[in-house]
Point group: C2
Chain length 250, copies 2
Amino acid sequence: MTEVQETAAGLDRPLTPRQRARTQTIADIVRLGRQHLATHGAAALSLRAVARDLGVVSSAVYRYVESRDELLTLLLIDAFGELGDEVDAAVAQAPEVDHSARFLALGRAVREWALREPASYALLFGSPVPGYNAPAERTTGPGTRVIVSLIAILDAASRAGQLSLPADGSPQLPPTLAADLAAIRAEYGLDLPEELVARGVLVWSSLFGAVSFEVFNQYGPNTFKAPAELFDHHLAVLAGVAGLPVRASR
Amino acid sequence: MTEVQETAAGLDRPLTPRQRARTQTIADIVRLGRQHLATHGAAALSLRAVARDLGVVSSAVYRYVESRDELLTLLLIDAFGELGDEVDAAVAQAPEVDHSARFLALGRAVREWALREPASYALLFGSPVPGYNAPAERTTGPGTRVIVSLIAILDAASRAGQLSLPADGSPQLPPTLAADLAAIRAEYGLDLPEELVARGVLVWSSLFGAVSFEVFNQYGPNTFKAPAELFDHHLAVLAGVAGLPVRASR
DNA sequence: CCGAAGTCAAGAGCAGTGCTCTCTTTTGAT
DNA sequence: ATCAAAAGAGAGCACTGCTCTTGACTTCGG
């Protein structure tokens, strides 16, 4: 369920019993932390409560986890990993040449994971936990998997010649923005033209906007009887925004 | 700065000195609460700290505010009101017939307020505060002002015959969703066809998605040198999604 | 094989939190 | 001036993150 890195450098010398027990305990702490996160939310995540569930006194867990923030970081990485895995799996299940289907799969996977794990989703994409700063060097990697996957889908569609700006034209890019987008293009070696990179970024944030509204109940209760249908419709429109070919019907 | 309702029923019998002092104290508490919210975040909002700033012992503030959650509710309503006021003012400043300009003004106003008051924005549109449930009867009114304003802009454009589905077609609406949207149409007496109501909802959540990504720093630091340009570009694309006429250039 | 080094759990304690209860003081209306 | 209502003060409960010390246990080198 939850993997923990075994040695800092990644060399796999046989582990001493001590190390094994230690990594196991840390894994247990993360597992219990996830449960508390799911049931009580991020701000209510308490090391003492985890310690109680672990059958241990509170100060003992500090041997394994430096601080509450450190536990939050572990949970953050864990959640990013799980989301990334599910998105990758869903995307891989769609035919490689059907870029619209891949996009749809990505969007649905994000939504379904978010609805299943609202607290984790809130930790990743909701308001930042006050006083907590995620260590960029450990979280940017796992944290960018979804956008990287999305851009990869769009880039593949672009290479296949299936991506097109809408007929009625796209607003022009101001120079500074064009330069930023060109840098992104270059960094990832993208075929995607700048305008479509910009639209990809928009689609990305829009996707999370739609998911957030649903997860955070911001539509109000009972406004939409079939939220999945609404979301699918949004995805279809967003596919068009990204330049993907839209089918007239579902 | 912060207005407090004076009497429950709204009749303005002359206030007794007691009542005056009381509403003034509540207003002070909300003001100090806003400061703490802005500087330390919602989860760190502490009645004791507010009491200290007020020069009073902690139990005394319970005479005015029922609980910490009650204070959160007051701050929620306060923030919704401020956002609504700023959005309305910005929209009103654009010519009534230029619906695209009104939309742009709305989007920019939301973004600017959010960047100026990130903690309040997080309170309204970020992860829900765990264990806190906003009382719907007091918050839905102020909380729906922005979407109502957005829909009003789109509806006015529709009535003026300036709103059109994109040339390349819109995905079809499944029956359940169409029924929900028809109900919204009826409730607000909208001219807007169902497809464009759906797109309006999408644009609405997309707008907040884009703002959230920027406020919550989810693009990563220093990815975009001119975030306002990126956001304006997004707004231009979203205007097109909503069916508003897009100008080829800015 | 035994002692040193390393590891770990426990407990006490500090400063903070929300909230309740009781007691005293203030204050406004009669 | 009197008196009840309102407001403030203070103690206290149960909780939090975190630190420090103490004692016990495990591992490893000589």
